[in-house]
């Protein structure tokens, strides 16, 4: 990896849904190993920004680069680029017809062509890492929401991505299950994973985030070091956002 340029780079990104201008001139740079937490009121475009980062949504102007390579370069195979970007969804989206182990090993086997035995060994390690040893043969329906989300994180990690995207991954969980998922994310951050996290968990943002990106109405309102943001936000809107949380 080249330390010269950021690992993920948004440059003048604009997106419309019909007449609705949902992303307005987004410029963000995410360095290797950095944890960027995107916060903001609902409908501010946070999730859309994340979904554009692996082209689940298309942008209309600007550019998003992964490790210096444009995602929108027509020479690039989007399926190859996506293998380098892990994504975890609010609704888990585990494959219900596959066991936890199969969910994790499936893409490495099918997409990367890794031998089944090797992929399953890696999957077992990952299951242990997210604290679910013994649940290898369970189907998603037999797991709690928190357990499912941890399997989903392991599934994304199995592709050995350069960056992980988290799209409100604790919003669909019962309150008592939020902690176990945030715990796994905290460990990942400590291990140096580059992460872009859309969340409403301010405790996590403050504690684990390196930088806070505050969005409102499709715009970036403020980008500040996490510690500073929660002490002294630079903008009026940042102050207003924080005061509403208290």
């Amino acid at each position: 990896m080249n330390p010269e340029h950021p690992i993920v780079e948004y440059e003048g990104v604009n997106k419309w849904f019909g007449d609705n201008h949902v992303l307005k001139d987004i410029d963000v740079e995410v360095d290797e190993g950095e944890v960027v937490v995107v916060i903001g009121p609902s409908g501010s475009g946070k999730s859309t920004l994340l979904r554009c980062t692996n082209r689940l949504e298309e942008i209309q102007s600007g550019d998003i680069r992964l490790d210096g390579i444009s995602l929108y370069d027509s020479d690039q195979d989007v399926n190859r680029l996506r293998q380098r970007i892990g994504m975890v969804f609010q609704s888990f989206n585990l494959f219900p017809h596959k066991t936890a182990l199969e969910n994790i090993a499936m893409a490495p086997i099918e997409v990367k062509g890794i031998p089944t035995e090797e992929a399953e060994a890696t999957a077992r390690d990952l299951i242990e890492e997210v604290g679910l040893a013994g649940k290898e043969e369970s189907y998603p329906d037999q797991l709690s929401g928190g357990q499912q989300q941890r399997v989903a994180i392991a599934r994304a990690l199995a592709m050995d991505p350069q960056v992980m995207l988290f799209d409100e991954v604790t919003s669909a969980l019962d309150p008592e299950l939020v902690g176990e998922v945030l715990g796994v994310m905290r460990t990942l951050a400590e291990e140096g994973m580059t992460m872009i996290v859309v969340t409403h968990e301010m405790g996590f943002a403050k504690e684990v985030g390196d930088r806070i990106v505050l969005m409102a109405e499709g715009e970036i309102v403020e980008q500040t070091e996490a510690a500073q943001f929660f002490e002294r936000p630079k903008t009026e809107r940042g102050r207003a956002f924080l005061s509403r949380l208290l």
Binding site: M87, F89, N93, H97, K98, Q142, A156
Partner: protein, 277 residues
């Protein structure tokens, strides 16, 4: 106190506001009604079998029904497999982003679902050979291939609609998760969406395949020696209705009952992480 909610009869129940309000009484009424109905049917059946069915004739015509039954089974197995296979592609065509594929699949479904099977059978059996000069159509026993083609094309349309519905019921997040892991759309379809769509569509497909079995009775009009045609022959020569009818019922059930068991088995197998674990 818990006794009052159990299955035991208790005297407290008589204290209810009205007799029909009482769940237990209603249940008993249902049981009495359904048992009386079953008894009535069984009595009628016994009466018919003893007075109307000719045991000698029953034996004589048995081999002819077996022969027809075996032919029907062969037609059903081939048309069933082909129509499910075709239906998967029709279903995929119906959800295709390509307007060409989509319209062709829709047109296909509209035609084969919108016209009677009997018409389609005539179209294939009588219509197609007419496209050759008289007497030059190369197939002599055209009725069986025509039957298989007709049943396949007709039921392919119904299976296609079941598959389309099954795919539609799979949440979008499944394909998104597959794509986010680097799978192509085709791979996501094959590995993630279709196995789930299959489970969703199984009941409807099973239903349709049982209808396919019964639709073979129409083949009598295109000279396929199937079960109903054996009945018509026996009936017209002996004027006996009940004896051959008994065989007709038994032989159809001998196909459809195992078939619905098979569907049940396939459904239980696709109940991932459900009761069976």
């Amino acid at each position: 106190m818990s006794d009052a909610y159990g299955d035991h009869e208790t005297h407290e129940e008589t204290a209810g506001s009205g007799i029909v309000d009482n769940d237990n009484v209603l249940r008993r009424v249902g049981e009495v009604l359904s048992s009386s109905f079953a008894l009535l049917v069984l009595a009628m059946l016994a009466w018919i079998v003893t007075t109307q069915v000719n045991p000698e004739l029953l034996q004589t015509i048995f081999p002819r029904f077996v022969e027809a039954y075996l032919l029907v089974i062969q037609i059903v197995v081939v048309s069933s497999i082909l129509s499910v296979f075709l239906g998967v592609f029709v279903g995929l065509g119906r959800i295709s982003n390509s307007p060409i594929t989509n319209r062709i699949a829709s047109g296909y479904v509209e035609f084969f679902r919108g016209t009677p099977l009997l018409f389609q059978l005539f179209l294939i059996y009588l219509g197609i050979p007419r496209l050759w000069a008289t007497g030059t159509f190369p197939l002599t026993n055209w009725e069986v291939p025509a039957a298989i083609i007709g049943l396949t094309l007709n039921h392919g349309a119904y299976v296609g609609e079941a598959v389309r519905g099954g795919i539609g019921a799979v949440p979008d997040g499944q394909m998104e998760a597959a794509r986010s892991l680097g799978m192509s759309r085709v791979m996501g379809m094959r590995k993630v969406v279709l196995p789930q769509a299959w489970r969703n569509a199984l009941a409807a497909i099973g239903n349709d395949q049982i209808i396919l079995v019964k639709d073979t009775s129409l083949l009598t009009v295109i000279a396929v020696p199937e079960i109903m045609s054996v009945f018509r022959n026996v009936n017209s020569t002996t004027l006996d209705a009940w004896t051959p009818l008994l065989w007709v019922a038994l032989f159809y059930l001998a196909i459809t009952v195992p078939m619905s068991k098979l569907v049940q088995y396939l459904e239980s197998r696709a109940d991932w992480g459900g009761e069976r674990h």
